[in-house]
């Protein structure tokens, strides 16, 4: 489709860019930065209007972007994540007041980059959109200028990110040299006709996997996660663990499904092994953590492992629905947990586990909500997390022998859920069974309570309307193939 015909398809993205630029401008005149935050949320919600989740696929801008149901799901997801991140940033104390305008506009541009990532169908577009998201993330991680840990986290994140992204670019240049094209469709056709030496293509595929694995925090590209998560402003940590990871999965899934179907048996077994290693390593290291941000960082590596099971299975309807369902439930419970961290650290200036002692006596409601999110992360029915895990587990079983590791993956998920239960329950024990050291009141601002209420409500009641949600996900998933 040519340029003029393509425009109607990118109204959501155009709204975000226009809104982001407007926020930069308004920042000069408006001294109440809180208004800018609400403006940013309004821009994000406005971008939902022109979206059509039941769209038939269209390749726009000469095949640069693909607008299909899969990308539309991630656009809606982006709006959900980013508007919540902005809402919980409003009363996050550690951000410097005078930079909040820039902060909110960067978050809107970040949403723009995430939407592009979800629909990129060209290596150039893919690299650029990942670069937009990564660059903005590095900046936002460093946004806490008064805290040296924030700068250190950003530097580590940046260095690892640059290396991962240059390895991926290197792989892309070879793919271009081999196929003479950057478009997913052309590269796919070249491989389908199958003339190339598969050993070299596997190496190039691995290089691309390195770049994408960095975004989703897959082992062995996970080294940046604990430090970056710990040092970053907590709302940004929440974004990294949910938003950035979700679009990372969107890109990983789309790229491997659409570009490399000819090498399915290779990448699916490789990703299968990596999924098992990722979830096991994340969970085992999480056991010995004493800082809640680090604990959630390792737990988020483990959850990436679970979702990776869905990617490794690949071409079944179950697998795709499992990935989307898991991301949705992970969004609810993990962001919920981070909201608690923000509320508590606003008062206590600490994310250490021992400072959570006796939280149940100091703030019973808060402790109950946190316990709820942790139970959901463990996968206890009927909370939201259970359904995510159930779908992934079912997808692994259903895949049978199409992936040589599918039963192993199912076993690994079961064992890992037990390990995870141990450290999630340790936090609950600290809150309920250890006596508090002081009984100071924990301040709970309205915006954070509102966000917390939303997350709790949906985490608890997801089971009540599971069938319409599952139906929506079934409708939005579309097989990512060229046939």
């Amino acid at each position: 489709m040519n340029v003029i015909q393509s425009f109607p398809y990118i109204y959501p993205e155009l709204i975000l860019v226009a809104g982001g630029l407007l926020l930069v401008l308004l920042d000069l005149f408006i001294s109440n930065k809180r208004l800018l935050g609400y403006g940013a949320i309004a821009v994000l919600l406005l971008s939902l209007l022109p979206m059509n989740p039941y769209t038939h696929g269209a390749e726009i801008f000469n095949g640069m972007l693909i607008i299909d149901r899969f990308s539309c799901f991630f656009k809606i997801f982006t709006v959900l994540v980013m508007s919540l991140i902005i809402l919980i940033s409003q009363d996050y104390k550690s951000l410097m007041e005078k930079y909040r305008g820039e902060y909110y506009s960067l978050l809107v541009f970040l949403a723009f980059g995430m939407m592009l990532m979800a629909s990129a169908a060209n290596l150039l577009m893919l690299q650029l959109s990942i670069e937009l998201v990564s660059l903005t993330s590095y900046l936002l991680v460093a946004f806490n200028k008064k805290d040296a840990r924030s700068s250190e986290a950003a530097l580590k994140y940046y260095l690892v990110g640059v290396i991962a992204s240059s390895i991926m670019l290197y792989g892309m240049t070879y793919l271009y040299g081999l196929t003479g094209s950057l478009s997913f469709h052309d590269i796919f056709s070249y491989f389908r006709d199958g003339t190339a030496d598969s050993v070299v293509i596997l190496v190039f595929m691995l290089m691309i996997m390195a770049g994408l694995g960095f975004k989703i925090a897959m082992v062995p590209f996970h080294w940046w996660v604990p430090d970056a998560y710990e040092g970053a402003p907590t709302p940004i940590t929440a974004f990294l663990s949910v938003g950035s990871k979700a679009v990372g999965f969107a890109v990983l899934y789309r790229t491997f499904m659409m570009v490399f179907p000819a090498f399915y048996s290779d990448w699916s077994s490789l990703l299968g092994v990596l999924a098992i290693v990722t979830m096991t390593l994340g969970n085992i290291v999480a056991v010995s953590q004493h800082n809640l941000k680090r604990l959630l960082a390792y737990s988020s590596i483990a959850h990436a492992g679970y979702i990776l099971v869905g990617v490794a299975i690949g071409y079944t309807n179950w697998a795709q629905e499992a990935i989307l369902t898991y991301l949705l439930t992970y969004y609810l419970m993990n962001l919920g947990a981070f909201i608690i961290l923000i509320i508590v650290s606003n008062t206590l200036n600490s994310d250490e586990l021992e400072d959570y002692s006796g939280l149940a006596q100091r703030a019973p409601g808060l402790a109950a909500c946190f316990a709820l999110f942790l139970l959901s992360l463990t996968g206890v029915p009927p909370l939201a997390g259970f359904f995510g895990k159930y779908y992934i587990f079912a997808a692994a079983i259903e895949a049978g022998n199409s992936n040589p590791f599918s039963y192993w993956m199912a076993v690994a998920i079961a064992i890992n859920s037990v390990i995870a239960a141990y450290y999630y329950f340790r936090v609950i024990r600290q809150m309920y069974l250890v006596e508090p050291e002081d009984m100071g009141v924990i301040r709970q601002p309205l915006t954070l309570k509102l966000a917390l209420g939303l997350m709790v409500f949906f985490t608890v009641t997801l089971s009540l309307y599971l069938s319409p949600v599952a139906e929506f996900i079934r409708q939005t998933s579309s097989m990512l193939t060229w046939y």
């Binding site: 650029l128 081999l178 070299v200």
Partner: protein, 178 residues
């Protein structure tokens, strides 16, 4: 290589061949300088040499416009900026150079070496997609049209990337009152 010597090359082709290998060798040496030299200013100079080499290769491919843009942007702007940055931050590091050490030196050396060996082994036998260009594919007019037609989306997205980097850089680099 053997077929290269069997075919009869015209003097012009010989000149091209020799200059290509000459430039390529210089670029490899310069690139090695970028990553191995201890002084970051020398590394920046190495980077300028690599950029110049790339411009020379563009020239050999009849892409004069691209070659000059390459020199203007990379040598003229990017490397100059790096040099400025080094000079401005030199005071912060007191001119001391920290020797970098890495626990995983051995592992990464093995991984990189095996990747290098694999590429050296496989690349000569791989069939690359080479096309002989007809007409001038890289003059200003063709490039301009491509930017506004085929590549308009990436072209516009880059401007957002730059804007974001600019906003972030201002926030991070601004001096705070104590």
């Amino acid at each position: 290589m053997t077929e290269l010597f069997n075919t009869a090359l015209t003097p012009w082709e010989w000149t091209q061949l020799i200059s290509f290998y000459g430039i390529a060798a210089l670029m490899i040496v310069a690139a090695l300088m970028v990553v191995t030299l201890r002084n970051i200013f020398h590394s920046a100079l190495g980077l300028a040499a690599v950029a110049l080499g790339a411009a020379a290769i563009y020239l050999m491919l009849d892409a004069e416009f691209l070659a000059f843009v390459q020199i203007l942007v990379y040598v003229g702007a990017v490397v100059t900026l790096i040099a400025f940055m080094v000079m401005l931050t030199q005071r912060a590091s007191h001119g001391k150079l920290v020797r970098q050490s890495n626990d995983q030196k051995t592992i990464s050396f093995i991984v990189v070496l095996s990747l290098f060996a694999l590429l050296i082994w496989k690349i000569p036998t791989t069939v690359w997609n080479t096309t002989v260009s007809t007409g001038n594919l890289a003059d200003a007019k063709t490039l301009g049209t491509a930017f506004l037609k085929e590549y308009i989306m990436p072209f516009e997205v880059i401007s957002i990337v730059l804007l974001v980097a600019l906003i972030g850089a201002i926030v991070l680099a601004r001096r705070e009152p104590k």
